[in-house]
């Protein structure tokens, strides 16, 4: 029989997360700080609307782009929160999570051999999605000393004749880094000079703890070359509803909608009805959850400082990315030993790109009580490592 599989897919590396997931899954009594989704339940008024829409029998397809009512609410929301203006008729696509938006955008925009610049560490799907779309991923290793922001020099150095797209992802998973307006302005200059497009994954936009989020699409000259990806998973604690959206110029959105139409048909109808309430009535829930995350973030920073663990202050998402290079262990060794000796699971930084080696991703989508127990154990582990070192 001949090989049933695609060469492209075979060459794709499996997610580094997956491997660690398998190890942790075998330890049911471990405390995990490895989760990439909120610990809050979806606000009740959103859930209630989802139930109501089922009771009303709204179980049909929606239009390919999604419910017009929801697209309109999304436009109102983006205008209200981020000063981004889009036309609900042809500049919005409702997707199955932000993940689908990324995939569809890349597939609609890339020709074979086009290069996509991907700053790392980053979310695990960017590189494989570029490969599946026939593009060539060009990764850029971001630096701890720049607080994992992309600088214009780093961007400039990665650009070739073939570069077409920059994947941008701030607030960032896994580092918690943000890029503020002046940081974005610096790279926007380079982007415009080289006539690049940007796919800006802003799924954590609501979770910033210094100043509010700035979307690169809101900068002069950037709207027409940016696809903004966002969704309901993080800000509204709606991960399992699988609902996101992409906005951008109609010319690109039209082609994205075509890909979405053939691959997906439409996003889940029930989720779309519930999401209308999220967009319209849930600003106060976002604030409540953001405040809780911020309190935990401060707690972790303080705890790390006390145990002498080096860490830049992350101002976004719900991750903290401490450096563990002082212990002379790889991220994976550190995480595996921590798991076995203290039953605390964290994710090795290199799961998010090679330059994440020497770091850990610690999620604070947990209650303060849980964090305290886990961080206490991490502290003990570090003490033991340091004592062991002293004995050598």
């Amino acid at each position: 029989m001949r090989n049933p599989l695609s060469d492209t897919v075979i060459k794709m590396k499996p997610s580094g997360i997956r491997k660690f997931f398998d190890i942790v899954s075998e330890m049911p009594d471990a405390i995990s700080l490895g989760v990439g989704e909120p610990d809050f339940d979806t606000p009740w008024n959103i859930r209630e609307e989802g139930i109501y829409s089922l009771e009303k029998g709204r179980t049909f397809y929606t239009s390919n782009a999604g419910l017009l009512e929801l697209r309109q609410e999304i436009c109102n929301y983006l205008e209200r929160r981020f000063r981004l203006s889009y036309n609900p008729k042809d500049e919005v696509l409702i997707t199955v999570g932000g993940s689908e938006g990324i995939d569809v955008a890349l597939r609609a925009m890339l020709n074979p051999g086009d290069e996509v610049i991907i700053p790392e560490p980053c979310f695990v799907s960017y590189v494989p999605c570029v490969q599946l779309a026939g593009g060539v991923p060009v990764t850029v290793s971001l630096k701890n000393e720049n607080q994992f922001r992309l600088t214009k020099e780093e961007l400039e150095a990665a650009i070739t004749e073939k570069t077409k797209i920059l994947m941008l992802s701030y607030p960032n998973n896994p580092t918690g880094a943000v890029m503020e307006r002046e940081d974005l302005e610096a790279i926007a200059e380079v982007i415009i000079k080289h006539d690049l497009y940007v796919i800006s994954d802003e799924i954590y936009a609501e979770l910033t703890y210094n100043s509010g989020h700035t979307s690169i699409a809101s900068l002069p000259g950037m709207w027409e070359r940016t696809i903004v990806i966002n969704g309901f998973s993080k800000a509204f604690a709606m991960t399992g509803w699988r609902l996101g959206f992409a906005v951008g110029p109609a010319m690109i959105l039209e082609q994205m909608t075509k890909v979405h139409q053939f691959a997906i048909m439409c996003a889940p109808t029930n989720s779309q009805y519930a999401a209308v309430v999220a967009m319209r009535d849930c600003d106060k829930d976002i604030v409540r959850m953001r405040e809780a995350y911020d309190q935990r973030r401060r707690y972790l920073l303080d705890a790390f400082q006390k145990m002498g663990l080096s860490c830049f202050e992350p101002y976004g998402a719900f991750y903290i990315f401490p450096c563990i290079k002082e212990f002379g262990l790889s991220s994976e060794e550190f995480a595996t030993r921590l798991l076995h000796s203290k039953k605390v699971a964290v994710v090795p930084g290199d799961a998010f790109g090679e330059c994440g080696e020497g770091f850990l991703r610690i999620s604070y989508a947990y209650s303060l009580e849980e964090l305290k127990v886990a961080i206490g154990r991490l502290g003990e582990f570090i003490e033991e490592l340091r004592e062991g070192k002293g004995n050598d």
Partner: protein
């Protein structure tokens, strides 16, 4: 300062056992300031107490709660306050609210048995000067009290490690 006060109050409302050191870290404040602010608010009776939410059904202590709607004749020069004081001074009364609408006061009473509560209403509350009528409702089950769900058996069902 008002903002800091509100933030502290919100945290304490959810968990009055939270240590001042933790509050300080969570809000990015100095611990001494937190302690001072809480003391001020205690003195100003913004913070009036630190009660514990107890599900007595899970203990072997017998206890019943009743909600009583009371109609009251307000008294000249004193409105409802005088009657209210006479009601809330009884130890059996756990909460008392002045209401808008069809009746004037909501009284929460706790007793060992329904009989004990009924006797309190019949002997103490109903005959009280200014009290025009009472209507007693017994609580059958408490689901949520003071913002806390009493039966939370929530397990973390999220996958242990996700991207």
């Amino acid at each position: 300062m008002q903002q800091e006060r509100t933030k502290i109050l919100k945290l304490l409302q959810n968990n009055s056992k939270l240590a001042t050191a933790d509050i300080a870290v969570m809000l990015g404040m100095d611990e001494a300031v937190v302690i001072h602010t809480i003391q001020d608010m205690e003195q100003e009776q913004i913070i009036c107490g630190y009660n514990t939410i107890i599900n007595w059904d899970k203990t072997d202590v017998e206890r019943v709660t009743a909600l009583i709607e009371v109609k009251v004749a307000p008294q000249r020069g004193e409105g409802f306050d005088r009657v209210a004081e006479r009601i809330y001074n009884y130890e059996e009364v756990t909460s008392l609210f002045l209401m808008s609408g069809g009746f004037d006061m909501t009284v929460f009473i706790e007793g060992k048995t329904m009989k004990e509560v009924a006797q309190f209403v019949a002997r103490k509350l109903a005959p009280m000067e200014g009290v025009l009528s009472t209507s007693t409702h017994f609580v059958l089950k408490k689901y949520k009290e003071g913002g806390t769900k009493l039966e939370q058996s929530k397990k973390d069902e999220r996958l242990v490690v996700t991207a």
